[in-house]
Amino acid sequence: MNDKLEIGDTKLDSRLFVGTGKFADYNLIPKVIKASKTQVVTVALRRVDFDTKGENMLKYLPKDVIIMPNTSGARNATEAVRIARIAREAGCGNWVKVEVITDQKYLLPDNFETIKAIEVLAKEGFVVFPYMSPDLMAAKRMADAGAAAIMPLGAPIGTNRGLKTKELIQILISEIDLPIIVDAGIGRPSEAAEAMEMGAAAVLVNTAIATANNPVLIAEAFGQAVEAGRKAYLAGPGATQQVASASSPLTGFLRDE
């Protein structure tokens, strides 16, 4: 089956992106990557210790994965742009997940500042993945500003509550001509599969893997769930019927003319 996720010139076999925060041990990260078969990992630049004496998390990442630095900690477009530039200069490539959070209580993204950051970064040649609250108009502006994909949240970061914003994400999938990658909130492989069945292009998972009792095993499960959900989407499942077929049809009196 030739089903690749295309982002610019890049073609990906895996539709699972994995976050690297919250792990108890950096040695787990390469194992999680291998088990999940992911090809894209996000890394918070704020946590990367470029100092050679320190523990640099980037050293734990296999050479063949794409690093997608994120702008965690940015409170406005200016800070997000600065973080993206630092990441690129540090050799993290030109993919960037723009995350502008002005609310530390729920960690909800600021769509307005995010749009401003995309405008600057896309012009500078970054491949921009904005993390956003699922809102159609904001997603359209992000697409117009040059985003490579749109990353709506399923539920607030770290809640593991699943696809609480399902209806709104469905609208983005229908209306936006960019890959829709569900980011945040996915707590279980079944929810990842559900997002893929809906037609999401990919999902990003961090907390659910990093805080599981067995992160490597659940990473594998997430990889399989994403694949299964994608296949189901491509297969086009049979329509579900809400009511049983009526034995006395209401339109039975209509005769063929």
């Binding site: 792990f23 946590r47 600057v120």
Partner: protein
């Protein structure tokens, strides 16, 4: 409106009566909620909640894990000066105490910075006593400009400043403020801070809000446990943190729960807090404020700190000295108080890792060196 108005509403509240009135079923209900109201928080602080401590611990552990993962952030304090005009009855730096007073020269600051940076620590907290004569804002600013070359994050724990002064220090690269109200009860506050600028309760209480207006990134508040009954003090601290979260949603708010330690003046805590009490109050804070940082310093013993790793704490200091300088400068002055955890950075790192947690040295990146020019 400031938090001062909120505190005023509780002026005549009889906390003892309310706290003793909670039943086990009220506590169980509070534990069941995904978002706790102040009343639920108070229930978890009540004497009765002690009976459900293990259940509360399990809930708090899971909330912490979802929000922070298996991580503990590390920081280290550096005392720049111990000159002080205040008369806090519980503090080793009290103006009345006959101790050697000194402040670091700028070249000593540089030496200290190198010694600390050599341990791998990245988040620095700088402290002074209150002396606008010996450690004015201009001195602190000079120190910050040196320290920023070594540390991605420099936070201050100094006397309360005006909004303009906070703005000046934020501009110099300070990203966090720690300021302890010490005690929220106004009568006790007046008694333990009899003279000096610190006698002004309201000016201190509103310091975090002034720093918030000045654009600070992180705020850490707390009571000094031992000065008053911990249950009502932690309740007010929790409300203060929630107030700051709501007023400044972009700021990361954290809470410290320092227990009084022996100091040179020999002051004894009037309201001692047991280990079990400390655990209960940390758990209650965690459930009331799932996203807030909770800080534990080297005031607590190594063994106790290791056990707290899984109970809601998210930040720890390590290898701390509470004397001026203390990392590189040969001539050590007497500390502000005695610490209890004497382990090195490496030993603390190993101990946290042993608990199945990742010690995080770096959680911020200095953005001031990048140009905005497109």
């Amino acid at each position: 409106m400031t938090f001062y108005d909120e505190v005023s509403k509780f002026q005549d509240t009889d906390f003892v009566e309310i706290l003793n009135g909670f039943t086990t079923s009220q506590i169980a209900r509070a534990l069941d909620k995904s978002e706790l109201q102040p009343q639920d928080f108070l229930a978890l602080l009540s004497p009765k909640a002690n009976d459900l401590l293990e259940d509360i611990a399990q809930a708090a552990h899971s909330v912490t894990l979802r929000n922070f993962g298996h991580t503990i952030f590390l920081f280290i304090p550096l005392y720049l000066a111990n000159y002080c005009v205040n008369h806090c009855v519980y503090c080793g730096f009290n103006a009345d105490n006959n101790i050697e007073r000194r402040k670091l020269t700028l070249s000593e600051v540089e030496n200290e910075a190198q010694a600390i940076a050599g341990t791998g620590m990245k988040h620095l907290l700088i402290l002074t006593g209150e002396s606008r004569l010996h450690s004015p804002v201009s001195y602190i600013k000079d120190c910050v400009s040196i320290l920023k070359r070594y540390f991605p994050s420099v936070c201050i724990e100094i006397y309360p400043l005006s909004t303009d002064e906070y703005t000046e220090l934020v501009g110099a690269g300070v990203d966090g403020l720690t300021v302890f109200q010490e005690v929220y009860d106004r009568n006790i506050y007046a008694r333990v801070h009899p003279q000096g600028p610190k006698h002004n309760y309201q000016f201190r209480l509103e310091a975090p809000e002034r720093a918030g207006q000045a654009g600070i990134r992180t705020i850490n508040i707390g009571p000094l446990l031992g000065l008053n009954d911990w249950r009502s003090e932690i309740f007010m601290t929790g409300l203060h943190a929630a107030y700051l979260q709501k007023k400044f949603p972009e700021i990361e708010v954290s809470i410290s729960c320092p227990r009084m330690r022996p100091e040179v003046g020999g002051y004894e805590a009037e309201f001692p807090v047991s280990d079990r009490d400390l655990v209960q109050l940390i758990l209650a804070l965690r459930l009331f404020l799932p996203r807030a940082g909770i800080t534990i310093s080297t005031r607590e013993s190594a063994e106790f700190r290791d056990n707290l790793v899984k109970l809601g704490v998210t930040k720890m200091s390590a290898a701390s000295s509470t004397a001026v300088g203390g990392y590189a400068t040969a001539q050590h002055s007497l500390g502000q108080f005695e610490i209890s955890d004497y382990r090195s950075v490496n030993e603390v790192y190993e101990a946290i890792s042993h608990q199945g947690y990742k010690p995080v040295f770096k959680d911020w990146h200095d953005l001031s060196l990048v140009s905005d020019h497109v």
